[in-house]
């Protein structure tokens, strides 16, 4: 018996979410008095996982699994679960993890709870707290199957360092029919993505036009942040759809979310509510966002943002 965790990597480097799910797996393993086994795909150096509580790493190196494939990855993880006789499987809330988890659940006859924000409140019955109603409520969910799958919300549990080291061994699962073939990947490089960002700077219709996004990008650059936008802005074509955050766009769960010229429609707030600290800058003090944010400035973005950039640059220079 052990806890198995799927630790995602990108070109061999582990993502922050991988270290977060490893931290979560360690906590569950401690609750259950067992150890943590991680499974990795095409990652050479897995030593960092030991620092977050992983005891053993199963390394899959397979050219057929060079790009993510939900069937292939789910099948490999299922084989690892059976080999290790794992009773709990931990995955993240990344697009890939959410893609494979239901397939894995069917393969293992396992119950699956997604968007989990805390360590299990009980391991028997196995009960977790997850978000529901698009972050407007929490749902305590019991998983009643022998094998359980927990999808951990991004940025909810945090990192827990552990002074340990992980042993590594090669693992060669059989590869099923993949069914879905990746023809091309179109991924931004050298830019912080909304999914991975600690800070997101988001602009709304209050910015009046796409030509005014320079200051949004500059502010994001100073903060090492990703840029995002409200739905009207993407509908108007001022910014690409991939930047649209909100209920029908991308979800945001960053540490800091800065909304500039966004009134805060309920659909927008639903998508960004999981962010820890929210700052709003808007001329209209009646804008609904002021009820949802932690810090606010009632003022003109065209005056406030350049000043903020200048002050932040000075602040960063001192750090």
């Amino acid at each position: 018996m052990s806890v198995l965790v799927y630790t995602e990597s990108d070109k061999g480097t582990f993502k922050k979410t991988a270290l977060e799910v490893a931290s979560y797996a360690k906590t569950v393993a401690d609750q259950m008095g067992t150890t943590v086994t991680a499974i990795t795909f095409n990652a050479d150096d897995t030593s960092v996982l030991g620092n977050y509580g992983v005891d053993k790493v199963l390394k899959v190196n397979n050219s057929q699994l060079e790009t993510f494939n939900a069937n292939g990855y789910a099948s490999a993880i299922a084989q690892a679960v059976k080999n290790e006789n794992a009773k709990v499987v931990i995955v993240s809330s990344s697009a890939d993890s959410k893609y494979l988890a239901p397939l894995l659940a069917i393969d293992l006859d396992a119950g699956y709870a997604s968007n989990v924000v805390e360590a299990p409140t009980s391991t028997s019955p196995f009960t977790v707290k997850r978000t529901a109603f698009t972050n407007k409520a929490f749902n305590m969910t019991a998983i009643n199957t022998d094998v359980k799958i927990v999808g951990v919300s991004k940025n909810a549990f945090g990192l827990k360092e552990n002074s340990g080291s992980a042993t590594a061994e090669d693992f060669s699962p059989s590869i099923p029919e993949l069914g879905v073939k990746v023809e091309s990947v179109d991924k931004v490089t050298g830019q912080v993505t909304i999914a991975d960002a600690e800070t997101v700077v988001s602009g709304g219709r209050g910015l009046k036009g796409p030509e005014n996004w320079g200051m949004i990008e500059e502010l994001a650059d100073v903060l090492g942040a990703a840029t995002a936008c409200s739905k009207p802005v993407s509908d108007l074509g001022w910014r690409p759809h991939s930047e649209h955050v909100g209920q029908t766009g991308k979800p945001v769960a960053s540490n800091l979310y800065i909304a500039i010229g966004i009134s805060g429609a309920i659909q927008h707030l639903a998508g960004i509510n999981a962010s820890k600290v929210k700052v709003v800058i808007n001329t209209d003090s009646e804008a609904p966002f002021f009820k949802a944010a932690d810090y606010g400035i009632v003022g003109d973005a065209f005056e406030v943002v350049p000043k903020l950039i200048e002050k932040l640059k000075a602040f960063k220079a001192q750090q």
Binding site: A70, A95, Y99, A101, P102, L103, A105, I106, A110, G111, Y112, A113, S114, N115, T127, T131, F133, T134, K136, A137, F138, N139, M140, T141, A142, I143, N144, T145, G179, V180, K181, E183, S184, V185, D186, K187, V188, T193, I194, E198, D235, H241, S242, H244, Q247, T248, L256, K276, V277, V279, A293, D294, Y295, G296, G299, D300, K307, L308, K311, L312
Partner: protein, 248 residues
């Protein structure tokens, strides 16, 4: 091509979220229900396949009689027929099993569901359904073309998108992008009248087991009041973000 569109019956986004019966049940009092937004993008894409490629389109919901107005709305938008599996939607696995039975009985080639419902946000039904019926599966799908039995889809990934090729039978977890917001259709009077004549078949559920159980709901702790900062005192904002919130 026979298409089945899975329709979740969900509270409108602007609904107040409250719970009853010792916080174990969602309080539907005064709540308006709608087609789950992610499903509506899929339904609208299905209409395109119907009009351009001669596909037939049925819609399905697993739920009690209270979901029928939502299915009628889907018929008014243009679906040919509706199926309601007469059982409450208990957990994702139970719903996926009921849907698998509908797909197998109806011989559907393409199932379009939403990537997740906006109420429980489980995001598991489409994938579980695909696993149960051994169909191909693409989720977070923002574009879908079908040519014969071959399909080409675009999936949104973290930080970009990927184009994939696959084949029918296929299950899609759809979202905005399958069609745009401006393509969504508001049922007109003719559609609403026609929907009354279209078949809405109620089928009894199969024996399905659950894997998870909702124990209780909780509402987030009330948020503290916002701290307003004078636009002429930006240093104060930086100070608060650094020393109080500790996010920069």
């Amino acid at each position: 091509m026979k298409i089945l569109v899975c329709i979740s019956h969900v509270p409108d986004t602007t609904s107040k979220i409250n719970f009853t019966e010792g916080d174990t049940k969602f309080d539907t009092n005064g709540v308006q229900f709608v087609i789950n937004p992610n499903d509506e993008f899929g339904l609208t894409r299905a209409m395109w396949f119907k009009e351009k490629q001669g596909a037939s389109v049925d819609v399905v919901n697993v739920g009690g009689p209270e979901t029928e107005p939502t299915l009628r709305k889907a018929l008014a938008i243009g679906a040919d027929g509706a199926i309601r599996v007469n059982t409450p939607a208990t957990d994702g696995f139970a719903v996926a099993q009921q849907l698998a039975k509908v797909v197998q009985d109806g011989g559907y080639d393409l199932v379009i569901a939403g990537r997740e419902s906006i109420d429980y946000n489980g995001g598991m039904v489409p994938g579980m359904l695909a696993g149960l019926i051994k169909a191909n599966f693409v989720t977070n799908c923002i574009s879908l073309e079908v040519d014969g039995t071959n399909a080409k889809a675009i999936r949104e990934i973290d930080g970009g998108k990927e184009t994939v090729s696959t084949s029918l039978p296929l299950v899609i977890g759809g979202q905005k992008g399958l069609v745009e917001e401006s393509d969504l259709r508001i049922p007109n009077m003719r559609g609403i009248m026609m929907a009354r004549q279209k078949p809405l078949k109620v089928v009894e559920p199969m024996d399905a087991n659950t894997e998870t159980a909702s124990v209780k709901f909780e509402k987030p702790a009330p948020k503290g009041a916002i701290k307003l900062i004078d636009p002429d005192n930006i240093d104060e904002l930086i100070n608060l973000l650094h020393n109080e919130a500790k996010v920069i």
